[in-house]
């Protein structure tokens, strides 16, 4: 499956009908936005951080307790543009792209880290596939795998999107549509479908 080159990405971004158009907004600095076969995206200003709690585990089979535990475990914060967030070694935070993405039905993309950040030990996404028809800010799972704390600034280019055309048409209809920041996971919605596997 071939990736779209810069010229093809731009062609998708200039299509007339809004439903057929690839939208990555805001394109704050176009001179920094495009690579040979990708679009660079920036770090958003909202984060979900993990708090150390007294409860022992997060078990997705505990449908009654899990939502409240996740809420206790995770806290939403906002860092203003121009301010910094220090990410310590082995710390996981959930962030999102600053940009809001709208993919047409014929296009999907992968979120990939920037090599310059990778060399500092920063992993920016573990679940990297974005389905055709998705609309929203893309949630990033950011981990510092390095040896020293890393300072992050909202607004800096942090990841890149690599696009592929899909055969046929498909449209994302998941829980994270129209997200304007990082999202909490919602395992409890899956309980009925997955309970066979829990064997509780």
């Amino acid at each position: 499956m071939a990736a779209l080159a810069e010229s093809q990405i731009k062609e998708y971004m200039e299509r007339g009908a809004i439903k057929e158009r690839l939208i990555v907004t805001p394109l704050i600095d176009t001179s920094e936005s495009f690579d040979a076969a990708s679009i660079n995206v920036r770090l958003g200003s909202e984060f979900i951080i993990m708090k150390k709690q007294s409860f022992p585990i997060l078990d997705i089979a505990d449908k009654d307790i899990l939502p409240s535990r996740i809420e206790k475990y995770q806290e939403k914060i906002r860092i203003n543009y121009g301010e910094q967030f220090v990410l310590h070694p082995n710390q996981l935070i959930i962030g999102s792209t600053l940009e809001y993405i709208s993919l047409p039905k014929r296009l999907m993309c992968y979120v990939i880290g920037k090599s310059s950040w990778g060399r500092m030990g920063l992993i920016i996404a573990t679940a990297t596939k974005v389905d055709p028809g998705f609309k929203g800010c893309i949630t990033l799972e950011i981990i510092n795998e390095g040896e020293v704390p890393i300072v992050l600034y909202p607004g800096i280019p942090i990841a890149q999107l690599v696009f592929h055309e899909v055969i046929g048409e498909a449209e994302y209809d998941g829980n994270y549509s129209y997200a304007t920041g990082p999202q909490f996971p919602e395992f409890s919605r899956k309980y009925e479908k997955w309970k066979f596997w829990y064997k509780k």
């Binding site: 907004t25 176009t30 709208s102 129209y178």
Partner: protein, 367 residues
């Protein structure tokens, strides 16, 4: 308002309000009473970052996610702008103009009651003069702030005010218990006059921006507001009270003069339909398709961030086009529409953040 610092805070009370007193000056006066006890440079250090007039605008906690309603901030900003209109000269003019009328009303009340002039008439005259002055000042303050809000935000301000008004009695008589607020119906009527001003012509909403049926729904909302204001029940209540009748006659006269004054003061900021509607269809198309209406993006190199006025008006027109379906046939909330409303609020807020950030970025590198 670049010459002021404004802090926003939530409040439990279901109301928007502003501290018109400059808090910076207040603290300054308070702390300088202790200037003999502390070194002067320490006091100066306290006010180093506190060097502009400082005001607090409060908004209802219940509505914190109702982004569209927050264009009522412009009404509160209107209070800060209209403040300078109430000088001593205007107050004296008002007092001189009404004192004879109030005096004769009170005298006639007493002679009717007892058949002769009461010893208490003079005290009552003073009391009613004060009531008339408060009613005049508060009435004018609120209506002028509404007018400034409409001048700055256009139809969005009218729709937001209606949303607050329908939760209350439209014809509350101004008195001490309601802090002399003018009736909502009267406020809507005055705002409508600005919207319908011959040089403005926001309505009927032009065809071609929305699909035909949606244009009819939006024009229908406008007609509904018009119908509300054609009912004169608020006026009747004011006319029934002779003191309020005198005060509001002056309010009516002063509004005309004040409106001209503020139109001149704010001329570069006044929203005009020819400008607002020019690029609206693009923004409307975006929000209808679940994309924040933050910018005009015809192509990668032909893009321009939208203004907050354009964003809020886009969201209001979008909301009005489906809002009537918020309840299902049984009178329960329609979950789909509630979800749509939630998405709309989030997209609108995001659009404001994006447009602001982009403008700041451009300004930074333009220097």
């Amino acid at each position: 308002m670049p010459e002021k610092t404004i802090m926003l805070r939530v409040q439990w009370k279901h109301n928007y309000s502003v501290t018109t007193t400059d808090i910076c000056e207040l603290y300054n006066n308070f702390l300088y009473e202790y200037k003999d006890d502390v070194e002067e440079h320490s006091l100066e250090k306290v006010f180093e970052d506190f060097n502009k007039p400082f005001h607090i605008i409060s908004f209802p906690s219940l509505e914190r996610k109702n982004i569209l309603l927050h264009c009522l901030f412009s009404h509160e900003i209107g209070h800060l702008i209209s403040n300078k209109y109430f000088n001593k000269e205007r107050r004296d003019k008002f007092v001189n103009k009404i004192s004879k009328k109030i005096s004769s009303i009170v005298q006639s009340m007493f002679s009717t009651a007892s058949g002769q002039k009461s010893l208490f008439a003079q005290a009552k005259i003073t009391q009613e003069m004060e009531r008339a002055e408060i009613a005049w000042k508060r009435g004018l303050e609120e209506i002028l702030s509404d007018i400034i809000g409409v001048l700055l935000f256009g139809p969005a301000m009218l729709f937001s005010t209606l949303e607050m008004a329908i939760q209350d009695n439209m014809d509350n008589k101004p008195d001490l218990t309601n802090n002399f607020y003018p009736p909502w119906r009267l406020r809507l009527r005055e705002m409508l006059k600005v919207i319908q001003d011959s040089s403005q012509e926001f309505f009927p909403f032009p065809k071609g921006i929305f699909p035909g049926e949606t244009t009819d729904i939006i024009n229908g909302r406008f007609e509904a507001i018009k119908k509300i204001t054609q009912d004169e029940s608020d006026r009747e209540k004011i006319q029934d009270d002779p003191i309020l009748k005198v005060a509001y006659k002056e309010v009516d006269e002063d509004i005309i003069e004040a409106q001209k004054y503020f139109q001149e003061q704010l001329k570069d900021l006044i929203v005009k339909p020819s400008v607002l509607y020019k690029r609206l269809s693009h923004l409307v198309d975006r929000i209808n398709n679940g994309i924040p209406p933050n910018a005009y993006e015809n192509s990668i190199n032909d893009r321009d961030p939208a203004t907050i006025v354009e964003i809020i008006n886009t969201a209001w027109f979008h909301k009005i086009s489906w809002e009537d379906d918020i309840f299902d046939k049984k009178g329960f909330f329609n979950d789909k529409i509630c979800k749509k409303r939630d998405i709309m609020n989030r997209l609108t807020l995001k659009a404001i953040e994006y447009a602001d950030l982009e403008k700041e970025f451009r300004d930074y590198y333009a220097k």
